[in-house]
């Protein structure tokens, strides 16, 4: 899977609305996008729905990909935006329900309890804020560079570094990483 192959496929999508080329791009990157969203939401079904929405949005916005960074970096930016927008929508929905007197179950659930089986990673991610979680996943699960994360989150590189530092601190203090490391 090379960057130039991705660029060629993107060029075919942008110039000729080639759905076969887009299908190839989806096949190549679906695993990383779905993994990113599964870790971020803690729920497989929601993550897969969001992944579909992410690729639909990517199809619409493909012309905005400049080719400067990696395609997966751009795709994860689209995925993160899709996640944030869906979160905003469900928050608004919960507010409306609250106004009419309904108690929303989804809002009261914490990150770690959303999935049926709580894994070590779920526990680890639960101590982080949403922003820290997204950035840590991009860095450690998706292997994005600080520059790519900065592009994906529209944050300065320095802020990305400090969020990662803060996230690591939290994980270190919550889980005693050093003991785990040596034992």
């Amino acid at each position: 899977m090379t960057r130039s192959e991705d660029h060629q496929l993107v060029a075919r999508v942008v110039s000729a609305q080639d759905t076969a080329a887009f299908g190839e791009l989806v096949r190549r990157h679906q695993s990383q996008v779905r993994n990113f969203l599964r870790k971020l939401t803690g729920d497989i079904a929601t993550a897969d729905d969001l992944s579909q929405d992410c690729f639909m949005r990517a199809w619409d916005k493909m012309g905005t990909y400049s080719g400067r960074g990696s395609f997966i970096g751009w795709l994860l930016k689209v995925a993160y935006t899709t996640f944030l927008q869906s979160k905003r929508k469900s928050k608004r929905y919960a507010e409306i329900l609250e106004q009419v007197g309904h108690v929303t179950e989804a809002e009261s659930r914490s990150y770690a309890t959303q999935s049926e089986e709580v894994t070590d990673l779920d526990k680890l991610l639960a101590v982080l804020t949403e922003e820290e979680r997204a950035i840590m996943i991009m860095s450690y699960a998706c292997g994005l560079s600080h520059r790519e994360i900065s592009d994906a989150t529209s944050m300065p590189v320095g802020s990305v570094k400090s969020v990662i530092f803060r996230g690591k601190e939290k994980i270190r203090t919550s889980f005693d990483i050093k003991d785990h490391q040596h034992g």
Binding site: A20, Q52, M56, L124, Y140, A141
Partner: protein
């Protein structure tokens, strides 16, 4: 001595990073028809987009047919008629403004619902 401490700090940091990477690592997710579903959705969207304009044009054409026919007849009569006829045709044969506005509103509503359907 200082450089040794710095190197050691880097090494510890790297080990910590590696540990985090291994904790965040997960098996690749099998496609299992996911990409086909996405492509099918994209193709549906493209098809709808391609159909929107002809459908809207057909509906608009149907709505506009009666007033347009009236307008053509009126223009025809104006062209061939006497000055007295001109006054008569202008008052009796020209399509009413109300009908044109209704047609335009229906066309707009159709376009909006097609757009919503596509979304």
């Amino acid at each position: 001595m200082t450089s040794k401490i710095i190197n050691m700090a880097d090494r510890i940091k790297d080990e910590e990073d590696r540990l985090l990477e291994s904790m965040f690592e997960s098996a690749p997710i099998a496609d299992d028809g996911f990409s086909k579903q996405v492509v099918a959705r994209v193709r549906r969207k493209l098809l709808l987009r391609q159909l929107t304009l002809p459908i809207a044009a057909a509906i608009g054409g149907l709505i506009a047919f009666k007033p347009a026919a009236g307008l053509i007849t009126a223009v025809y009569r104006i062209l061939i008629g006497m000055p007295n006829d001109l006054v008569a045709s202008a008052t009796s044969n020209l399509p009413s403004l109300q009908l044109i506005v209704t047609g335009a509103l229906i066309l707009l509503a159709t376009l909006l619902s097609l757009n919503m359907l596509e979304e």
